[in-house]
């Protein structure tokens, strides 16, 4: 049952905890969507192009739902995206890693790893004490289920021959340590508050344990091996969140803020007047 009904009733500590929880959610979706859009007009077939474009738009839509939660705490879109310092983004680096040209296995493996994590994370927020978080979960979950099924189906399809399986294996080897960092907190000092307020009903290590089990079972079933990673020392040096981002994040950031900067904008145009339907 939600006990923190809306933005007007929050203490400073509660606001800080909500921000620490929501920024990573929003930034993960936003940055991963940016990467997915790179496949538009470059996917293997026209049909797969349409499907991945849709996944990108879904993720951008989810990012917007999460950004709207923090917008209600007093941020506008320029502050949230176009004028925020790139070091102040909280996404995990799994979302920001560049794609090697033509590495479709990376796209679908990354989506599978991410969306499996996302499903678990959303479940742990469905009973959030903060109503604007809890009431977004159902809409997002429905779309994430398509993403996960889409990714898993593609992975199985690529594994029909040994060359395809090898591309999947390479992607899993490279991405798995980065994916483990999805379960790192945005602001480690806020973790206890997030849990004691009931903003999230399960701990990050517990979610990570379930994720390891689910993904391992899946990859075992298709003869792809999952690397064994010791935590925390096995995490990459640039995992994102509160730790350093991958270098490629900076050029992505430069590109997506380019027009805004060149036109010396101070506001961001909306198409529809009302987004905040949370």
């Amino acid at each position: 049952m939600s006990s923190l009904s809306g933005p007007d009733v929050l203490s400073a500590d509660e606001r800080a905890a909500i921000e620490a929880l929501v920024f990573p959610l929003a930034d993960d979706e936003f940055v991963l969507a940016e990467r997915y859009t790179e496949w538009q007009v470059r996917a293997p077939t026209l049909e797969s192009d349409l499907a991945l474009a849709n996944v990108a738009q879904d993720e951008l839509g989810h990012a917007r739902l999460w950004y709207d939660v923090v917008a209600d705490l007093g941020y506008d879109e320029p502050e949230l995206l176009f004028e925020r310092d790139p070091d102040a983004f909280y996404h995990a680096s799994l979302c920001a890693l560049p794609f090697e040209t033509g590495d479709w296995a990376d796209a679908v493996v990354r989506s599978y790893l991410y969306d499996t994590a996302e499903g678990l994370r959303l479940d742990s927020l469905a009973g959030s004490a903060y109503a604007p978080i809890a009431n977004r979960i159902e809409r997002i979950t429905t779309e994430e289920e398509y993403h996960r099924e889409h990714a898993a189906t593609w992975i199985k399809r690529l594994c029909v021959d040994s060359e395809g399986r090898q591309t999947v294996q390479n992607a899993v080897d490279r991405l798995y340590p980065y994916a483990l960092a999805l379960f790192e907190p945005g602001e480690p000092t806020q973790t206890d508050v997030i849990e004691s307020l009931g903003l999230r009903t399960e701990s990050l290590p517990s979610l990570r344990g379930q994720w390891i089990q689910t993904t391992s079972t899946f990859f075992d079933s298709i003869d792809v091996s999952v690397p064994v990673v010791e935590l925390p020392q096995g995490l990459p040096e640039d995992p994102g969140r509160h730790d350093p981002h991958v270098a490629a994040w900076l050029s992505l950031y430069d590109d997506f803020t380019r027009t805004y900067r060149e036109l010396d904008r101070a506001h961001t145009p909306t198409i529809t007047s009302e987004h905040n339907d949370g």
């Binding site: 879904d58 429905t142 198409i271 529809t272």
Partner: protein, 103 residues
């Protein structure tokens, strides 16, 4: 074996699903479909497809068009005038009629 039947009213139209028939093979499916589904309705062409070859998905399990705000895909999101070009007016009207102008 069950065959799903698609009927086109007149040349240039779409084949739309109109029912099914039991038949042991495609030739007989066409013969049966012709009588069962095309003897009373004006028909230009018929297709038959084995029912087991049809995969399906419903809005209940997979919400078509997504569950989050996608108003940006629809004409009704953009407050610019359409009257200067008939083909844009047509598109505008067609989109609004299927969307129930929900945006």
């Amino acid at each position: 074996m069950i065959w799903e039947v698609f009927r086109q009213d007149e040349p240039g139209g779409y084949h739309t699903h109109c029912g099914n028939v039991h038949a042991p093979d495609r030739e007989m499916a066409l013969l049966f479909a012709e009588i069962q589904h095309a003897r009373r309705k004006p028909t230009n062409s018929l297709w038959v497809v084995p029912q087991k070859e049809i995969a399906s998905q419903t809005d209940e399990t997979d919400r078509f068009g997504g569950t989050t705000d996608k108003t940006y895909r629809w004409v009704s999101a953009y407050n610019v005038d359409v009257e200067f070009a008939k083909e844009i007016e047509d598109s505008d009207r067609e989109q609004r009629s299927v969307a129930g102008d929900s945006a």
